[in-house]
Symmetry: C2
Subunit: 356 residues, 2 copies
């Protein structure tokens, strides 16, 4: 099989060990002589998978006993609704920062349930930076931010001090580096970047935030219900959680410190080439450049289609920018190897030789 | 690998062709040289999967152009919330029939959004029959029923006449027999019985019902949004839909008429043995016995654990009744072969010889 370098923004590259384990489980899951697709989610073999996935999240992020961990469905997008439904009380205001499409969608949904105070926005410069100069009001119900902006290629490397509960959408950079999880009251992430395939969403909530939750929330949108039932209020996304469990095993085996070194090396290599190469230019201010999603454009836009074709001929895949912004985007998630970035850098250099 | 006869109530047995196709796609999806777990849901290869799955549903059920088909997340349980959010208007009443746990949960959720008229219930006899003697009020916003009751083993083989939109939860018997889909305004089904693995939910809605939908519905809970975006408003449950597509191909290749003959033969064989065998007794009134989930008990409850152990020793799996009702339950979904039912019948006969 031809080796393809997968720069897809998500669903995205996963560790081979997780894919291999999935293939094995589709044939014979955990010695049951049944496919993983056919076993009850309440079998002891599968309950062990969910329990291990939850424990791995706690171990990797060093979560204290104050935190609950569940796997839900509906992607981060359903969290945009569930967060205000659960935590924006009547007459309260929620504080959001607008750093791109996904943050914007979170804001739009919260407005359906109550008052939203948009503390800062980088929309003025097409979201090419992270706003930092704002204060979180002490009377907000919560503060919400998006740590990495997949579409625009910006990333928050530091988080503000907050006296109110801090909620973060970490869909596209969770498990990519160490961070102090204890500063957050809620973290959520769609699985399909660094954690697994599409179809499940990780939600981490501090018990003290849960205690403040609204009472009248529809059952399937109520965090307490899902937590009380250990991600099994109804049938969970069985296969997706299984793949997450194996990806989390791989992440734990490397450790977040080593993962950050890997990810920084990949990003540094690519950004250095973007800055050196006469044909390309990065779109994000240097201090806020994401290590997960590297956005760049060709100075001569007419060369874009040619470059993408050139990449494809070298089995460099998934480099087209999001349809809403265009340009180029290389996603460098955990499982992508440095050699793939080197292959892209080589392609950029060879393309420069022909087109400069 | 030992052949296991899988009577699990869901997630449940799937056709081997769908499992084989999944294994292949985890290695190399549609010639991309990438695993299905790593490809963009917006790749042309994957968009073709969703389009084919939708078309197969339309073909198998003979749906007219009046119907929309989408694949969502959250299981049938999230539909219990989405239905009243979208279709129960202010001041309106929704009509429900209570035929068991899942119908009951649908009723409980609807009550959070408006007034519910429970037209009939079989709770008086522990849901061992389908109530038939009721009239659907002409002023109801909609009528909701559950065609097959997985936990209690009852099934609706006929549906009432309704002048209001008729909505049916067909999670556990869709695609098991031909039926006139045109009498329904909405049909929904969690995939993990006859259609695929856990992680996706089929929703079929008539355009005329959609036109009546409430305006202010949170985006991820709004049917119109998902339909306008062809199941891709956000990242769908990629793998689960892929498996559904292959299961639907298999269903279409057999056809619902032939599927009904298969399913009737399996159910008849097992019910005949339950009625003949001196040790066992069926729990459901004969005319409402489900062909999908066969509920029965041992007359001598003390033998139950022994019988389950006896079955396990013969690789008959998943026969324990739902934890809320106990007893025995054999689920005979589409992909289960007659030989598996014969193996169970043989076990019942051999158990009788020893214990009668």
């Amino acid at each position: 099989m031809t080796k393809v370098h997968n720069f897809s923004a998500g669903p995205a590259i996963l560790p081979q060990s997780a894919i291999d384990a999935s293939i094995e489980a589709l044939q014979n899951f955990s010695g049951t002589n049944l496919s993983l697709l056919e076993v009850s989610h309440r079998s002891k073999e599968y309950e062990a998978v969910v329990a291990e996935a939850v424990q791995l999240v706690k171990d990797i992020l060093n979560l204290s006993a104050d935190y609950e961990v569940v796997f839900l469905q509906g992607g981060a997008s359903l969290q945009f609704d569930m967060i205000p439904m659960n935590f924006l009380g009547s007459g309260q205001t929620a504080a959001y920062v607008n750093t791109g499409v996904w943050a914007g969608r979170a804001i739009k949904e919260a407005k359906m349930f109550g008052t939203v105070n948009v503390l800062a926005s980088s929309e003025d410069k097409n979201f090419n930076y992270i706003p930092k100069d704002y204060t979180i009001p002490a009377d907000a119900a919560y503060y919400h931010c998006t740590s990495n902006n997949t579409i625009y290629g910006t990333e928050m490397f530091e988080f503000p001090k907050s006296s109110v509960p801090m909620i973060c959408d970490m869909s596209s950079d969770i498990f990519s580096r160490p961070f102090d999880a204890s500063q957050f009251d809620m973290i959520y992430a769609g699985a399909q970047k660094n954690m697994g395939p599409a179809g499940t969403t990780l939600v981490i909530i501090k018990k003290s935030l849960l205690e403040k939750a609204n009472e009248k929330v529809p059952t399937m949108l109520n965090y307490k219900i899902h937590i009380e039932n250990g991600s099994m209020y109804n049938t969970p996304s069985v296969f997706a959680i299984f793949v997450c469990m194996h990806t989390l095993r791989w992440i734990k085996s490397i450790g977040l410190e080593a993962m950050e070194i890997r990810n920084k090396a990949k990003a540094d290599l690519l950004y250095a080439e973007i800055d050196r190469n006469s044909l390309f230019v990065g779109t994000v201010v240097p201090e806020d450049r994401s290590r997960m999603n590297v956005n760049f454009v060709l100075k001569d836009k007419n060369l874009e289609a040619d470059f993408l074709k050139f990449c494809e001929s070298r089995n460099l895949s998934g480099l087209k920018g999001h349809r809403s912004v265009g340009g180029l985007r290389a996603s460098l998630y955990n499982a992508l190897e440095l050699e793939s970035v080197q292959a892209l850098v080589n392609a950029m250099q060879d393309f420069e030789k022909v087109n400069a």
